[in-house]
């Protein structure tokens, strides 16, 4: 079973947050932020994770890095390591790894956050921000470190002479480049990018997306790309997973997902995106209401109260997450019987 190319495999991941009540702080309910999450990512691949706010995509990403402790599930990570010139691959369950193991693992898995204004310490210089991971892992001496930071800045397309400046002297796009340089410092294999371009302006967004792509080619990086923007995801990802209320409802190769989607939620999500072309003034498929609370998700299929195709079975039975064909996974009772079309030309 262990496929050599699979870098990360997440099985049945759950993260429940307890809600306490009363003076004895008894647990009265759980917020099921991530509720049965399965995903694998191959080496060098970019997998997109999309969904509305509150669907658990960020929690899933952070739990995979164990920045948040998982409640249940396995996170199998298979980093390649070079020992005596030989490539060795060992499998580690991130969910149960010891602190010492975690520290080693973190060299191989890094994160880029959404907001470059709050993710960089405003009291540290760029040199110390990018050099900190190298320092923490004891990978280089002070002298060499300066040289490494210099190289990293060049790699992300910045002037290395900016090293001694502070984050406030940079624009959003430049800050995001600095955050990317910091994530690259340890030469990780997996980078979780949590909405890396959402806070950026249109023309800067494209620059950062292109940078992420060229770095991937250069360093053979694997990305888990978390975003709410389906257009960005279509552009950068090989495969895309759509999340709703803590679960993946559809997962497929990008083109397959966008051209031949199977889940009504994906259809609505895509239909909601404004297309920058006046010829595409579509009759939008509007979802009624907000995302239900993850404390008390609806019975049966989570999506049925907002689904316009819902049948009786959807209200009572949880749909199985299954492979339809060619690795197109869907969790919907009606999958295959519906012909869904979100974007139509006028």
């Amino acid at each position: 079973m262990p496929n050599d190319n699979i870098l990360l495999e997440v099985k049945n991941l759950r993260k429940y947050y307890p809600i306490y009540k009363g003076i004895f702080r008894r647990i009265s309910a759980y917020v099921k932020a991530v509720d049965g999450f399965h995903l694998f990512i191959k080496e060098g691949e970019t997998v997109g994770l999309v969904g509305e706010s509150g669907c658990g995509k960020t929690t899933a990403g952070r739990t995979i890095l164990r920045l948040i402790e998982p409640t249940e599930g396995e996170i199998l990570f298979r980093p390649k390591e070079r020992v005596d010139g030989m490539e060795k691959c060992q499998e580690i369950n991130v969910a149960t790894a010891s602190n010492k193991q975690m520290k080693d693992l973190r060299r191989n898995m890094q994160i880029i956050y959404q907001d470059p204004y709050s993710s960089l310490d405003s009291r540290m210089t760029i040199e110390s921000i990018i050099g900190e991971p190298l320092l923490v892992h004891g990978l280089s001496k002070a002298k060499e470190r300066e040289e490494q930071v210099r190289d990293l800045l060049i790699e992300v397309g910045m002037d290395p002479d900016y090293m001694n400046r502070y984050p406030h002297e940079f624009s959003g796009g430049q800050r995001q480049r600095i955050a990317i340089a910091r994530a690259l410092a340890l030469r990780p294999q997996l980078i979780i990018a949590d909405e890396p371009v959402s806070a950026l302006d249109v023309s800067i967004k494209a620059q950062i997306l292109n940078l992420l792509e060229s770095l991937q080619n250069e360093f053979n990086l694997t990305y888990l790309f978390i975003s709410h923007d389906l257009a960005v995801v279509r552009h950068i990802c090989d495969r895309v997973a759509v999340m709703y209320l803590g679960k993946i409802v559809e997962l497929a190769f990008s083109n397959e997902l966008f051209d031949n989607l199977k889940h009504p939620y994906t259809e609505a999500l895509m239909s909601a995106i404004p297309v920058p072309d006046p010829n595409y003034r579509v009759k939008r498929i509007l979802l009624e209401g907000d995302v239900p609370s993850p404390v008390n998700p609806p019975q049966g299929c989570n999506f049925h109260p907002r689904c316009r195709y819902a049948k009786e079975i959807c209200k009572t039975e949880v749909p199985v997450y299954q492979d339809l064909n060619n690795k197109h996974f869907v969790a919907c009772h009606l999958a295959g019987t519906l012909s869904l079309k979100p974007v139509q030309r006028r």
């Binding site: 706010s53 494209a206 923007d229 552009h235 083109n255 609505a268 909601a272 920058p276 907000d290 974007v343």
Partner: protein, 328 residues
């Protein structure tokens, strides 16, 4: 169609200690009755300052230093830029005839008052209704914007509503006095796409119902394409391209507009290398002497560095400020 608002050569500058920031530097556009105008641009291009100037909400160190904002009201023409922002006349227009919806519903509502009180405030002030009637009106407006159980919601506080619901309440508040012009400053930026689609649909329906003109300010080209009749693209405080929505999206003429269109990943096309505009928007204190876009422009020529191109009609109803398209 008759003209509702005619902005001519508007200049709003901010006098800071480090120098004069020309946030809006000579902008002209007209809004016809029932028309939707989209203003697009990146952060710092002056689109929000344009809106605040119209509303008379520019505070020190900012000041409207030039131009006219001609508002047509029952046959008479008022220059809003000359009115005292705190004066009686401006206050009778603001929130009544010209209303605004702000970007972040969470921060633009007062957390200490109920939704109802906040909507009723402008109704009581402008329509001279008593409290009871105003409350009825508030409930009616909340119902119109699709908030379920409006009788209960009027008693609730902003934190009890979700972002989408709050933005609906903001729209209800803005529309409660049936304004002739609604200024929407990034009304959906803080919302999820599905909620955004709901709110945009709502704005469209209300536009058709009340014949309100809309000034839609956004950085999202998709929203403009789907909503606006006319589009104005701004860069560094100036309008660089202005035309109807089809011209701007199908035949963009300014290199900046072309760059913007190319740098948006599209959901209808599969993966390809994205084109992008090099460099960053210059700081407003350090604006290039010639065309503002010249340092980032791939088609820049000698003249671009020295002289600012003016917005000129290049083809019928298509206005561009670029030396590529005009006589020097």
């Amino acid at each position: 169609m008759s003209t509702l608002l005619d902005v001519r050569d508007l200049k709003t500058h901010f006098f800071t200690r480090r120098g004069v920031v020309k946030a809006v530097d000579g902008i002209s556009f007209t809004v016809e009755t029932g028309q939707t105008i989209g203003i697009v641009g990146e952060s710092g291009c002056g689109k929000s300052v344009t809106a605040l100037s119209i509303m008379g909400l520019i505070r020190l160190p900012g000041k409207v230093v030039g131009g006219e904002i001609l508002y047509h009201r029952n046959g008479e023409i008022l220059d809003l830029s000359k009115l005292d922002p705190q004066g009686k006349q401006m206050r009778s227009i603001r929130g009544n005839e010209i209303a605004m919806v702000f970007q972040e519903p969470m921060t633009s509502m007062n957390p200490l008052f109920t939704i109802g009180t906040q909507i009723m405030e402008s109704i009581i002030l402008h329509q001279h209704l008593n409290k009871h009637e105003a409350r009825e009106k508030a409930i009616e407006m909340l119902h119109k914007v699709g908030i379920p159980l409006p009788e209960q919601r009027v008693e609730e506080y902003p934190h009890q509503l979700s972002g989408g619901m709050l933005q609906r309440a903001m729209i209800a508040m803005a529309l409660s006095c049936h304004p002739s012009l609604l200024i929407a400053d990034e009304p959906t930026t803080a919302l999820d796409v599905t909620i955004q689609a709901q709110v945009l649909e709502l704005i469209m329906n209300l536009r058709n119902e009340f014949k309100t003109s809309i000034l839609m300010i956004t950085h999202d080209l998709g929203i403009v394409a789907g909503l606006a009749d006319e589009v104005m693209v701004m860069y560094l405080g100036r309008a660089i391209e202005k035309s109807n929505v089809y011209n701007v999206f199908h035949e963009p003429k300014h290199p900046y507009t072309q760059g913007l269109m190319d740098s948006v990943p599209s959901i209808t096309e599969s993966r390809k290398k994205l084109k992008f505009i090099d460099g960053v928007v210059p700081h407003l204190l350090d604006v290039p002497p010639g065309c503002g876009f010249e340092p980032r422009c791939s088609k820049a020529m000698g003249i671009c560095m020295e002289h600012v191109p003016l917005l000129q009609e290049v083809t019928p109803d298509h206005w561009v400020a670029c030396w590529l398209h005009q006589e020097r």
